[in-house]
């Protein structure tokens, strides 16, 4: 019996994975070549890739569990950067006044990031309670398209609220950790970048562990796979929805705060992170969280290569071409199988 099942699953696995492995292999190959030719490409890819992974992972999660294609995801990045700046500014002043306070120098940046994640999560929960829950109660017809438009409205609202209330100027910092850069294999890496990468790695690891191993994480995946089945098991959808949107939003805000030294806070700051996260999610397959994490590094590599060899202005043009190519061959994305395209039917 076991061999019979294997016969059934093996070709399936092969069909789904060969193309994906091809792309992944190519990405790794480019990374190796780049590491020899231009090591900074590797550093840039990993640093931004880690943060895009947080954004895209959250975006994939909220689509998978709640079927919401969140167009306001970038505004949570904005909220994160704003909270990060507000909390870190006085701390930075304190550091400047006491240049000898070593502990303050080391841990100073963290309160802002933590506060950003918490505020982001709270805003997410607020959106669920104020907007998505009433809409869900009224009608679930055309839910995906309607929530897409609804979140577009939220995005416009939040961006312009920021412009109206906070103002149109840039609020940024030059660095979180005021220490000399690390030298590694002939490349100098600023401590901020190294820390951002480490924070991303730890967060991704915790996030994956939570989804894979904990009771609530499993319940989230259960809701994504079969909402009715999850309810039969006694899972309260309302609670899971709040946790999901809170987690997704919190991750986006954390990214916003952590990248404050690269992206100063201003009303439109969420735009680029938004479409990068969407590039990743479309590339990986909608709703696929692990795929999104892997895809984030591919998009980041693509982006870094574009900036390095073509020019910064082409950063939106080339990934689009690449994604269209991928979707031609695999309409459901690199790692997805939930969506059926015409080529699979």
């Amino acid at each position: 019996m076991t061999t019979a099942t294997n016969l059934r699953t093996v070709p399936l696995v092969r069909r789904y994975l060969t193309f994906t492995w091809l792309v992944l292999g190519l990405a790794v190959l480019i990374m190796i070549v780049a590491a020899i030719a231009q090591p900074s490409i590797v550093v840039d890819t990993l640093v931004t890739g880690g943060m895009w992974a947080l954004l895209a992972g959250g975006l994939a999660l909220i689509f998978g569990v709640m079927n919401i294609p969140n167009f306001a995801h970038g505004e949570l990045f904005l909220i994160g950067s704003l909270v990060g700046f507000t909390v870190f500014s006085p701390i930075q002043d304190a550091i400047l006044e006491n240049p000898d306070a070593a502990l303050l120098k080391v841990v100073g940046p963290f309160p802002g990031m933590i506060a950003a994640a918490l505020v982001g999560a709270a805003v997410g929960v607020g959106l669920e309670v104020l907007l998505f829950r009433p809409l869900r109660k009224r009608s679930r017809d055309q839910w995906v398209m309607n929530t897409f438009l609804l979140t577009a409205g939220v995005s416009v609202l939040l961006v312009n609220m920021d412009r109206l209330v906070i103002g149109n100027d840039f609020r940024g910092i030059t660095r979180y950790w005021d220490v000399p850069p690390i030298r590694l294999l002939d490349v100098s890496i600023s401590v901020d970048r190294a820390m951002v990468f480490i924070i991303a790695l730890i967060t991704i690891a915790l996030f994956s562990l939570f989804l894979q191993r904990t009771r609530v994480g499993r319940a989230m995946r259960a809701v994504a796979q079969d909402e009715a089945g999850a309810q039969m098991a006694g899972i309260d959808l309302k609670r899971i929805f709040m946790l999901t949107i809170g987690l997704s939003s919190g991750l986006a805000s954390l990214a916003g705060a952590a990248l404050l030294f690269m992206f100063p806070s201003y009303p439109d700051v969420g735009l680029q992170p938004l479409y990068l996260a969407w590039y990743v999610v479309i590339l990986a397959g909608l709703g696929n969280v692990q795929g999104a994490i892997a895809g984030a590094f591919i998009v980041s590599l693509l982006q870094t290569l574009t900036v390095f060899y073509v020019g910064v202005g082409w950063v939106d043009v080339l990934p689009t071409g690449f994604i269209i190519l991928i979707l031609l061959f695999k309409p459901s994305g690199l790692f997805g199988s939930a969506v059926k395209g015409i080529w699979e039917q």
Binding site: R218, A222, Q225, D226, A233, G234
Partner: protein
Amino acid sequence: MLELTNLESGYELLQVLWGVSLRVDEGEFVALLGPNGAGKTTTLRTIAGFLSPIRGDVTFQGRSIGDAAPSAVSRMGIGFVSETLNLFPAMTVHENLLVGAYAVKDKRQIAATRDLVFELFPRLHERRDQLAGTLSGGERKMLAIGRGLMPSPSLLLVDEPSLGLAPMATLATFAALKALRERGVTILLVEQNVNTTLHLVDRAYVLEQGRIVLEGTGTELLGNSHVQEAYLGI
């Protein structure tokens, strides 16, 4: 234990049940029989909380559960194995069972029920780490029943377990239900396989066009002329 009184229920534009009253006592094995479209699944979906009664009420252990959400119904001790099974296809067999025990906090109890499920369905034990989406029809049914058992429900609602199964797998499923009943689980079973069911259960109701038309023990109904004519083809 479970009591429906003059239950009227259905969907937005289509009322299906027109005053259904039935009762399931502690430890009983009761079947709800009837033709396609009579409202059997609607009855179970209303009990499980997926539909709200238009009129009438559902009480479970003396409490009204008519307006309770599905998750609340499940937490009160009513397990529901739906016709469509609603498994989690991208999770392993073991994970499906763990999600089934979502409401249970005690780790030892979860392990004990899981062992019981594996004992009832050894096949699931063999397939423990396989994704639910790759199981055969019979295995999927077993997993759905197993998942329904994980919170140790006092009442199990089972919708058409024989649907789409080969005769051998059907027999195995019925045998499992019988074994469950002997372990003291109360069962309300919806079936179209009238002959086998009536030999298996304590009591049964016949539902036609949204109303209960007959009620009796298995043997009584086997001898009833309407049942013989309409369902047994005698």
